[in-house]
Subunit: 354 residues, 2 copies
């Protein structure tokens, strides 16, 4: 399946509901930044040289040891995708929002299940990512590590004994690694404990972001928690640290959900059933509202309040109800109002079929 084809399918492996703790942890992600030895960083590259990076990566991906270690990845030039298709890749968390801009020399490599993706000529020459459903930081790291090893069979990465992997932004130097989990924290939001938890997370050297990374708002009670430090800690240490804090937040969220359900049962039921009633009936739904509805439905499923429906469907809906996918589905430009109508129709259809 080519990247073009993958865009027609809203599904990505990370949306499956077989991930550990998937009632609260949507997905786990690890990415490393790598740069090629002897080639200037992307923002300093002349036209011809950027192409050289792409060719080198293409060769590296075709190496049989790489394929054995990390699977077969398909290359796609960003320039060949329409703006809407690029946005879908962002919405599926396969490329960064920044990767959409000025994309002349930018290339993405994708494994068919979208678990492994590589951005070429983003801020660094390579950004190798693994994205898995549920709580699987260790697996995600192992997968990235294998892809990294596979690529090194062919490529020479810039590395210093003192600073580790060299990166454009010093905040990435060292391991070049950013690990994150996407958490659904409705319990902590509803019990007003979230701010306390977020403060504690900051003090532990972690960063909290919204659904679409840096600078984006927290929608639908979803929070991305990631390591801040990349230098002076081994990869395993970073993963272990993030995992351990995630385990604590997980316990707090479980406790908060149990507490609200015990204390004011009707309050949670009301929230969940209102989301169901609106999703099944509304005719106009904004991008923001749908994220909250999905969050509330997810909470309802986790608490066994709603008729069963696949978590996978809710995860897919997070992407399908974004404007880009709606425009793709409609096959034409849509105004915001038309998007809101399309979104409501799609949600209604999906919930009725579930």
């Amino acid at each position: 399946m080519s990247v073009k084809e993958t865009l027609n399918d809203a599904h990505s492996r990370w949306m499956d509901d077989d991930g550990p703790e998937n009632g609260i942890i949507i997905s786990s992600r690890v990415r490393v930044a790598r740069n090629l030895l002897g080639i200037p960083f992307p923002h300093l590259l002349e036209k011809g040289k950027a192409e050289e990076v792409i060719c080198a990566v293409q060769l590296a991906l075709e190496n049989s040891e790489m394929i054995e270690l990390a699977g077969r990845l398909e290359l796609c030039r960003m320039i060949e995708l329409s703006p809407v298709e690029r946005q879908i890749l962002v919405d599926k968390h396969l490329i960064s929002p920044a990767f959409m801009n000025d994309c002349q020399d930018k290339v993405v490599a994708l494994r068919e299940d979208e678990v492994v993706s590589i951005m070429v000529n983003e801020e660094d020459h390579l950004r190798i990512q693994c994205l898995l459903p549920g709580f699987q930081l260790e697996n995600a790291w192992q997968t990235v590590n294998m892809a990294d090893d596979g690529l090194e069979k062919t490529l020479d990465f810039a590395f210093s004994e003192k600073y580790g992997y060299l990166t454009v932004c010093p905040t990435n130097a060292g391991t070049g690694m950013r690990a994150s989990v996407m958490l659904h924290l409705s319990g902590l939001v509803l019990t007003r404990q979230l701010n306390g938890v977020l403060e504690a997370i900051h003090k532990l050297g972690l960063t909290v972001r919204g659904l679409y990374g840096e600078g984006t708002e927290a929608l639908g009670d979803l929070f991305q928690i990631s390591n801040q430090i990349t230098l002076g800690q081994a990869e395993e240490e970073i993963i272990k640290n993030l995992s351990s804090i995630t385990t604590q937040i997980l316990a707090q969220e479980h406790a908060a959900r149990a507490a609200i359900y015990k204390g004011k049962k009707e309050m949670v039921e009301d929230r969940v059933w209102r989301a169901y009633g609106l999703g099944m009936n509304a005719r106009i739904i904004s991008a923001e509202e749908v994220m909250q509805l999905i969050a509330d439905l997810r909470l309802g499923l986790d608490l066994d309040l709603l008729p069963p429906m696949p978590v996978r469907m809710l995860n897919e809906l997070m992407v399908m109800t974004r404007p880009a996918y709606l425009i793709k589905l409609a096959g034409k430009e849509l105004s915001q109002y038309q998007c809101d109508v399309y979104r409501a129709n799609l949600l209604r259809e999906k919930l009725h079929s579930a």
Copy 2:
């Protein structure tokens, strides 16, 4: 059926859906104020004298000509009703909110269908009311007039050639008549034309009030429009004037509904289906929210958007979802939170059964 029994039934004749223009005009009401000749006004009455008024009314109600003209009315002393039962009479628009306070000497007379009711020892000795479904001002006036005639077979009302019927408050003198229609104006609210219409109504010497009369807020897009002037105009003139203005508002509301449905169809559908979805699913609903939900459901029925359900049920729900009736149903005191839960359960049950 005694008044006590009537309280167990949320239904009143005015809730029926056979009234003309009942998609927009909920009910028509006419009341006249009367005082007995030679007896001080209620607020000046000594204990024994108040009882005299009650006895005189009781005798008048038992007069065969009165029964022939206005039907049989049952007397009930307010003191014999619990505060919750009194409130239900207010919620059904059968007595005024003021009639609940200090009710030692207050008596209500009710016809079984609740079309005719008489408050004894309210502000005036008698307040004779007729309340009918839909647009029936003329009928309501005829009914009040007959009851008035019937009572006059026995009672002498204070009347002056110059001032007409004498009343405690000079704003009621003359005809002593207040006529009103309860209008559901969602179309004018949604198209933001309401303020213009209300201003015009004021200029025409009419008054606009909320659902429960003077000083109450307009809930659920419901507005009570009544004559301001009682002196210097014949009863027929007052009725004709109010009817003619109501007919104009009716046309404007019809036009507004058609316009919104034509212009932004999804917007109205969204409003109506959201109300349906919430009514069918919510677990906690406030007294204010339910009025808006009922208004939106009524709009949906009028525009043929929803599965059919009786307008009568929606009218009954306006009374059944008030705190007093919920407490009566529960058979025990309810906190506001418990009321909100009961209300949501009741609405869900009614909508599912419809």
